[in-house]
Symmetry: C2
Subunit: 257 residues, 2 copies
């Protein structure tokens, strides 16, 4: 049975989508069957994998959540073997309000993904930069949560709000929710700020921080404009190396669970 | 009478808060009377100006919006002469749901800030990374909107959704809402990506892009951990230079309006 991993942090621009796309692509290259669910109305994971929002776009996560469309009617194959996508679109922004009136509104995504568990080894949920009903749905559906963190001051600030939300999710809906790990992203080893924040985080999260650190690497920011993951775009880049290393560490850590 | 300027872009991590704090501080240094309203539950503008969320924190924007507390009871003086802050806190995250049931829910912030117009030259609204009811309230209350944009691919993607929202706000609530300008942030002139995206933006927004470009400069990321603006933290940095330049250009462009 597959595992569901939410990639969440309400702080904006910390590398959630970049991690969802590139960790998934690296795991697919290692022969895992992977599904990315784009839970963000910005639909960056969808466009990062080459899916542009067009009027003729048949189905997205919105129809799955709100209209009960089966997930595999909306899912798409990507250019990467073994990696599928459940795309998002702008109308998902309406879901935050439309979900409010449904009964068991926090459990909707969990129930919609039940059939996907048999078809995939890993299902990654790319969350929007907010602790809203979409992110809540993702945390309730997930077995674990991977937390990307930029090594900067504002990133530290938001951690306790996220951990409180995780505690609340455990208390009311998902008692077994674990922390998959904390991933340091856009790390620039030349700045004292980054080193300082990194050591604060390692102390605060003792043992839950991935050894793999993702460096700031412009190739990672270029790849999505070509609709490709970093593995396809520039395999020799430090960005590709770091996400392949993360995939190895991710599998290794799971092998011990 | 003062002007209200929303700083908005639903893409996360593009420099909204950094611009709100440092443009305000530069204008205050130029003898303008400025108020920052922190409309983000992450409360980064509040902590960036040295206000930590504590249990004993008397009042924030939440009480002003939801309980009708007068704005000047919640406002605080900062360490910067002529710059005040209406702080945020975590419980503002609840406002998105609580505002839904109020009549004229889009006009609440606008009505709460009416008294502030006589007391300030400029009121900056730091928005969260979402096109939610808080951002909608900010766009309805504002005379103009300043759009910070990182020169990266995903940042381009979200522009049309933001412009559509601005059009909707003009149609239903605020016909005179203008674009104050588009600000290129975290610009790294060494990368082709940044130069490419910058020229795309200049073509798309003809004439609305500020000449001042904010470079990537680690001092800007360090300043908030000391609770200071870049002007106080490191006046000689490229970060301080660029925000002082932006303040000059901002005033110059307004002098022509
Ligand atoms: N390690 C990296 N090096 C350089 N650029 C990066 C790196 N990781 C991400 N980026 C770029 O930084 C920007 C923010 O990253 P991304 O969009 O993945 O963050 P996010 O947390 O998903 O943002 P949001 O909060 O808006 O969903 C993007 O333009 C992305 O291409
Ligand atoms: N020009 C710059 N150079 C270097 N770092 C910067 C610059 N501008 C902002 N930063 C840093 O980048 C991060 C993102 O900036 P900031 O928090 O201001 O963006 P935001 O758009 O307000 O984010 P959010 O969407 O979460 O509200 C912060 O850690 C900030 O300190
Ligand atoms: Mg994202
Ligand atoms: Mg901000």
């Amino acid at each position: 049975m597959g595992s569901i991993i939410a990639i969440a942090n309400q702080k904006g621009g910390v590398g959630k989508t970049t991690t969802a796309v590139n960790l998934s692509a690296a795991l697919a290259a290692a022969d895992c069957r992977v599904l990315i669910v784009d839970c963000d109305p910005q639909a960056n994971a969808s466009s990062g994998l080459g899916f542009q929002q067009t009027e003729s776009e048949p189905f997205t996560l919105y129809e799955v959540l709100i209209e009960g469309l089966p997930y595999d009617t909306a899912k798409r194959e990507t250019q990467i073997e073994q990696l599928d996508l459940l795309p998002s679109s702008r109308n998902l922004a309406g879901a935050n309000l439309e979900l409010v009136d449904l009964s068991d509104r926090e459990l909707i995504l969990w129930s919609r993904l039940a059939d996907a568990l048999a078809a995939y080894d890993f299902i990654f949920l790319d969350c929007p930069p907010a602790l809203d009903l979409l992110t809540l749905n993702a945390l309730v559906a997930a077995d674990s949560v991977l937390i990307p963190i930029q090594c900067e001051y504002f990133a530290l600030e938001g951690i306790s709000a996220l951990l409180d939300t995780i505690d609340r999710v455990r208390e009311f809906w998902n008692p077994d929710l674990m922390i998959e790990g904390v991933l340091l992203t856009m790390f620039d080893e030349r700045t004292t700020l980054a080193r300082q924040v990194a050591s604060d985080l390692q102390e605060f999260f003792e043992g839950q921080v991935f050894d793999t650190v993702i460096p700031r690497n412009v190739r990672l920011a270029e790849a999505p404009s070509h609709g490709r993951s970093i593995i396809q775009y520039d395999l020799r880049s430090r960005g590709a190396e770091s996400y392949l290393g993360l995939a190895r560490e991710f599998l290794f850590r799971r092998g011990q669970h």
